[in-house]
């Protein structure tokens, strides 16, 4: 089972956090701090897995953004790496050539996509089409709103 997923920038700024098990605010802050220092300190060509306390940390860098997923010890590390990758693919499909700014300005969308993809710390839907379909189904209700959040493109 997955425990948490963090997205942070190269500067260590948090972009997205998802906790799959109940954790107190204080612990969250500590974990975020630990993760950013641990992951950012890694050499470029090293292995994508880390051991942190009793958890496995799987991280991957996409452009300026680090994806950092913590799973339980017996989980398959490579598969976790593919979970990250699939999430990136989903973001990419939704935003179209996704960049960090998309996620900064539309972080709530990134959360919605994540919620369709993972649920309760387990994979829910692995199909790109299906995830997008359910996201779009909700977006359709957005009426004139749809125009607003695309502004990012102009700012970006």
């Amino acid at each position: 089972m997955m425990r948490f997923l963090l997205l942070f920038s190269r500067q260590g700024k948090l972009r997205l956090q998802k906790w799959f098990t109940p954790i107190t605010e204080r612990e969250k802050k500590k974990i975020i701090r630990d993760m950013t220092t641990l992951v950012l300190a890694r050499q470029p060509r090293s292995c994508n897995f880390l051991q942190w306390k009793d958890l496995k940390i799987i991280y991957k860098r996409y452009a300026s953004l680090y994806f950092c997923l913590a799973v339980e010890n017996q989980e398959n590390e490579l598969l976790a790496l593919e979970v990250i990758h699939r999430y990136v693919e989903l973001l990419d499909k939704y935003f179209g050539n996704v960049c960090e700014l998309d996620i900064i300005f539309n972080f709530e969308k990134a959360y919605f996509i994540l919620d369709e993809f993972l649920m309760g710390g387990e994979i829910q839907e692995t199909s790109k089409q299906m995830v997008n379909r359910s996201i779009e189904a909700s977006d359709m209700l957005q009426e004139d709103d749809s125009s607003e959040w695309y502004e990012v493109e102009l700012f970006g």
Binding site: M119, Q124, Q142
Partner: protein, 1136 residues
């Protein structure tokens, strides 16, 4: 491209509106968020950011609480609040508004509301209760998106206590027509199971339904639950093995829709989930494992594409192959896979390869040998993670021969490690190895010194405790013990002479204790010198007060010489006015004991004490005191918890003092009670605070109690083994015969070493031989002496042995076990056939065969007729008659002989089996036909008796049935029957198709006397299905796999036998008695029953007590059999 254009176009109007109406409510939400974000990025200092955010939060706060804010604006405000929280600023004022938004908003606003709630609150937040109603409402909404959102939020965050409120609705969603809803519902139930397993206990069969869902997504989701359930209890789900295998086969075979592909690999997540489930099911279970060999082979074969995801599957496959009952072919393939991983240039794969090696190395140490050079390279890898994994692997292959090298490597790693968690872990491992395999005293002490100084104060307290325990208890040889202690003392003296301020506190405490106990062993060492060194520790600023108290205790032990006494008294002087009560206590002790040398030698006899004090944890020596006190009117003692309970019950202000803060190393005090400063410190607490004497006293004894269990007189249980092992290791290995060593060498030389340039590899080769030397010999030993368990060297050896190519043994096993199973089966059957009629009630159809056997033995198959009244003769005998007949033949010989001779008797070969009553079929003037059926183990025999009361006759009988196959045992259909005799015909019956009752129709043509014209008689005979039913003895696992394989089933509710205590057991026993069904197992409210129609047509019955009735579910490969059997079950249970 077109996307971008479209986006830009759609963005235009809002951009315009932004220009035309600046600052209006129409200002787009992201613009505001965007402004904020951009504002932040422009800032240079943290301080400025804080100011900006606080300002932002203030404005959000103002707006959310304004009554004029629309839901839509609220949504935008929530997004901004979430953003501020993500940056680490608290926005708790917005929590309630997030809940309100989820409650009142339209779908879009709701979505943001739910998101904000799940980000803001955690599961124990009190505001969450306000969400329950909203979730409940949305779950019941007709809008699918709302239902989806509610299920998502339930999965993410929901108060545990409120689960019962929504559980029925979530359960209901399992039947929802939309698969996405079903899938989310399954995942929500999974989540419930994780946080409150007892609440979803009752819906286990719904999980099964989800597993069989036609949508693969729902099925996949249900596997999460199954993985969890199987982890907890694999036995209960063995019956699903075949289904999981089938699913995996289909997935691997590409039978799923393309949607499930991931980079053209079919449903990898599903595959891996299934592999994990299978490995749990097949673990230590050969039968189950055999079911999955084929699909594992297929998976290994199919996953060949060069992509991460296929490697992920392969890795899981390999793990599964090595977890389940081994099969040499698969192991070979898996080993090759591991090789590919280890040798891969990709670092992630290398890492997994090492992990896999670590996982399998106990079973297959040769595999590590094959990759020794890679392993050595990984030891020096720049990535610390790889290094660490390599050490883990080496840890698993450590033995007495390579221990020094491996421990050295681990210590090297520790010296560089910065991660506390890793340090603690590896320090523990080094200590373990050192205790287990230490080659000599010197090395052991030095290694432990390194452990203590590197592990510092983070390491588990068990390590120093175990070490001290080891020293104090010693091994078998006194001399060895002395040497070890002596060496420890000298090593510590030199450490203290160096720079003791750099040593961790824990280490100093160990040193103090050892010096206090054993420094007398070093004859040239004056106690005053030691005292001097110890005094330095007291003066050190870095010493904690706990360490200081250890120092003082050590001093107390040491002050038996003149010079020492004066020094000690000085110290005692200083510390008797310390602020620390514990230290003051210690100082007092030191002072008193150093003054009174007689007392000192009585309390702390010089030369150490070999026997530890006996701890009488029951405090029986106080019995007299207690009874005296009680008789004097004292209140009886109540244990701590009872007092606390009473206190809390009386709800008065608790006057209990704060919990006694014992130093961390409470257990360390247990070596002997008097030597430990910590324990004494409790008693010092006692004297310092006399208000609650009995309470404190009891708490100390309680602690002692706990301690005793670990450390007691018979030794520290967990450490006992290592002690022995070290003792064994101490003897260097001349035990190994030269031939074995030769073997080892040849094995070593045989192993391939994939290296190119010799000069730099020289060193590595050397390292390799020192690392893997012991291993290779060990594996060869393993091969030769497979039956001898080598537990001491390798703790988890059991598995290794099994896999270490003792294939013969494995092959032999199944036959043995199956043979014994057959034996069992036979035995059981016989037993049941024997005992069952005895138990049965008088009214039953069957009679005990034994009652007949005596008579049969006497008159064999035919009986000569002496006299005749056919009517009377043919009256079926009741069982009482039989008993009488058995008992009294000699007495009533005359009268009886008439009857008994014309009484039909069963043929001798059938007399041992149970049979039905003999009933008359038809009769004519001179002929009487009667019949019964006999149930043998594998058939039912119809026995027809023809009683001829007149002259010789010719007979011809035909017996027919549509549903039964009738086979006449006698050769010729025509038979001559002599006058005044009974002729017996046997027909063996087998079932063509099951029916509730079978009817046989018979035709008898006869001519009396022979040669006269023929006459005809028709008769019919009925027998129930139950005659053909035999108990089927199967194990629960077999039952499980059979259950899945059978296609014909039926369900019904039956009445339970009214019995207060165990109605299920009573009911099943009744079924067992009346219908001879075999009760496989009773698990709680469920019962498994098995039987078969004669030998080869099984029928399984699953019973569950539900609402005062017995819900039964029958399954069989034979059509109609479940229905027919059900009828009989019903009848059997209705009868009183």
């Amino acid at each position: 491209m077109s996307d971008v254009v479209e986006k830009t176009l759609t963005a235009l109007p809002s951009l315009l509106s932004l220009d035309s109406q600046p600052g209006s409510a129409k200002l787009s939400s992201t613009a505001k968020l965007g402004n904020l974000i951009r504002g932040i990025t422009e800032l240079t200092s943290k301080h400025e950011e804080e100011k900006l955010i606080q300002h932002e939060l203030a404005s959000i706060k103002e707006q959310v609480s304004s009554p004029n804010t629309t839901m839509r604006q609220m949504r935008e405000l929530m997004v901004r609040a979430v953003y501020c929280e993500m940056l680490g600023y608290e926005a708790s004022f917005s929590y309630i508004h997030a809940i309100k938004l989820a409650q009142q908003g339209n779908v879009l606003e709701k979505r943001v509301g739910y998101l904000a709630v799940s980000l803001f609150l955690n599961e124990s937040h009190e505001l969450l209760l306000l969400l329950v109603n909203t979730v409940l409402k949305d779950l019941q909404s007709t809008n699918l998106i709302e239902v989806c959102m509610a299920l998502t939020v339930v999965c993410q965050i929901f108060p545990k206590d409120m689960i019962p409120v929504i559980l029925p609705i979530v359960e209901e969603k399992l039947n929802h027509p939309k698969e996405i809803i079903r899938r989310k519902a399954v995942l929500a139930l999974h989540k419930f199971y994780l946080i409150a397993p007892n609440q979803v206990q009752h819906i286990h069969n719904k999980f099964r339904k989800a597993l069989c869902d036609k949508d693969p997504g729902v099925m996949t989701a249900s596997l999460h639950i199954y993985l969890q359930l199987i982890q907890e209890n694999a036995e209960a789900y063995k019956d699903l093995t075949a289904s999981f295998v089938t699913i995996l086969k289909q997935v691997v075979g590409g039978k799923l829709p393309m949607d499930f592909n991931y980079h053209s690999v079919p449903a990898p997540w599903l595959q891996i989930q299934l592999l994990r489930i299978l490995s749990l099911l097949g673990k230590n279970d050969q039968r189950t494992s055999e079911v999955m060999y084929e699909v594992l082979d297929e998976s290994l074969r199919r996953a060949e594409m060069n992509h991460n995801i296929t490697y992920a599957i392969l890795y899981e496959c390999v793990k599964c192959v090595y977890t389940i009952h081994p099969k040499s072919e698969l192991l070979e393939k898996a080993a090759k896979c591991i090789g590919n991983f280890v040798l891969s240039p990709k670092i992630n794969l290398k890492y997994l390869g090492l992990k896999a090696l670590t996982y399998v190395v106990q079973q297959d140490p040769k595999l590590a040998l094959q990759h020794q050079m890679t392993i050595i390279e990984c030891l020096d890898h720049s990535d610390v993670i790889i290094k660490r994994e390599t050490l883990e692997l080496l840890f698993r292959i450590t033995n007495a021969q390579n221990v020094t090298v491996i421990v050295e490597k681990m210590l090297d790693f520790l010296r560089l490690s910065k991660d506390d968690h890793m340090t603690i872990d590896i320090v523990g491992k080094v200590a373990e190895l050192a205790e287990k395999y230490a080659p000599d005293n010197e090395w052991f002490i030095q290694t432990m010194n390194a452990v203590f100084s590197l592990g510092g104060d983070m390491m588990q307290p068990e390590i120093p405790n175990g070490f001290l325990k080891l020293l104090s208890e010693g091994f078998d040889s006194e001399e060895e013990d002395r040497k070890l202690r002596l060496f420890a003392v000298s090593s510590y003296i030199s450490l203290l002479q160096g720079e003791p301020s750099k040593l961790p506190q824990r280490f100093l405490q160990v040193i103090c204790w050892v010096l206090g106990e054993y420094s007398f062993l070093k004859e040239d060492l004056e106690p005053s010198v030691v005292l001097g060194l110890l005094t330095k520790l007291l003066d050190m600023k870095s010493s904690s007060s706990e360490t200081k108290s250890w120092v003082l205790v050590a001093m107390t032990k040491l002050c038996w010489s003149e010079a020492a006494v004066s020094e000690a008294q000085q110290v005692a002087e200083t510390y008797s006015s310390s602020f620390d009560t514990t230290l003051r206590q210690r100082a007092q002790e030191l002072q008193h004991l150093s003054r009174d040398s007689q007392l000192h030698s009585r309390v702390l006899p010089p030369g150490g004490r070999l026997e530890p004090d006996e701890v009488d944890s029951s405090l029986s020596f106080l019995d007299g005191f207690v009874s005296e006190a009680l008789s004097a009117g004292a209140a009886p003692y109540k244990p701590l918890h009872q007092r606390q309970e009473e206190l809390s019950r009386s709800k008065v202000l608790s006057l209990e003092p704060y919990g006694l803060s014992l130093p961390i190393s409470t257990s360390s005090c247990s070596i002997t009670d008097r030597q430990s400063p910590t324990l004494l410190s409790t008693s010092s607490g006692l004297s310092g605070d006399g208000t609650d004497f009995s309470h404190r006293g009891s708490s100390t004894t309680l602690r002692l109690d706990g301690v005793k269990r670990v450390w007691g007189r018979e030794g520290y249980l967990a450490q006992k083994k290592p002690v022995e092992e070290v003792a064994q290791v101490e003897v260097p290995s001349p035990l190994r015969s030269p031939s074995q060593q030769g073997d080892a060498n040849s094995c070593r030389s045989k192993t391939p070493t994939p290296t190119a340039n010799p000069e730099c590899d020289q060193e590595k080769q050397q390292l390799a031989s020192s690392l893997f030397g012991g291993l290779s010999s060990q594996s060869s030993v393993c091969l030769m002496e497979k039956s001898e368990p080598d537990i001491q060297r390798f703790r988890r050896k059991a598995k290794g042995q099994r896999s270490s190519s003792t294939t013969n043994e494995q092959r032999a096993n199944p036959t043995v076990s199956s043979a014994s199973a057959v034996d069992n089966l036979l035995c059981n059957n016989l037993l049941e056939a024997d005992t069952e009629p005895i138990n049965s009630s008088a009214k039953q159809t069957f009679q005990h065969p034994h009652s007949l056997s005596v008579a049969n033995g006497a008159c064999d198959a035919e009986a000569i007729l002496t006299d005749g009244d056919p009517k009377e003769r043919n009256q079926p005998l009741s069982s009482e008659d039989f008993v009488e007949a058995d008992d009294s033949p000699p007495r009533e010989d005359q009268e009886r002989s008439k009857d008994s001779c014309l009484t039909p008797h069963l043929p001798a070969e059938l007399s041992g089996f149970s049979h039905s009553e003999i009933i008359p079929l038809c009769s004519s003037q001179s002929l009487d036909l009667s019949a019964c059926h006999v149930q043998t183990d594998n058939s039912v025999v119809l026995v027809v008796f023809i009683t001829n009361t007149s002259e010789d006759a010719n007979l011809q009988i035909q017996v027919l049935s549509e549903e039964l196959e009738v086979f006449c045992v006698c050769e010729s259909p025509v038979e001559e029957v002599r006058g005044r005799s009974v002729s017996v015909r046997q027909y063996s019956l087998t079932v063509k198709m099951p029916l509730v009752h079978f009817e046989l129709v018979g035709m008898l043509s006869y001519s009396i006397p022979a040669g006269m014209p023929q006459a005809m008689m028709q008769f019919s005979y009925k027998l129930p299905l139950t005659s053909f039913i035999r108990p089927l003895t199967v194990s629960t696992e077999e039952y499980g796999s059979m259950w899945l394989a059978f296609s014909h089933d039926t369900k019904q509710n039956l009445t339970l036998i009214k019995e207060e205590r165990e109605p299920l057991t009573a009911t099943l026993n009744a079924l067992n008695k009346k219908l001879s069904l075999h009760v496989v197992e009773i698990i709680g409210v469920e019962g498994l029953v098995a039987c078969s129609l004669l030998q080869d047509q099984p029928c399984l019955m699953h019973c569950r007590v539900h609402a005062g009735r017995l819900a039964v579910w029958l399954r069989s490969p034979v059509p109609d059999l479940p229905d027919c059997l059900l009828y009989h079950c019903q009848r059997a249970l209705q009868e009183p």
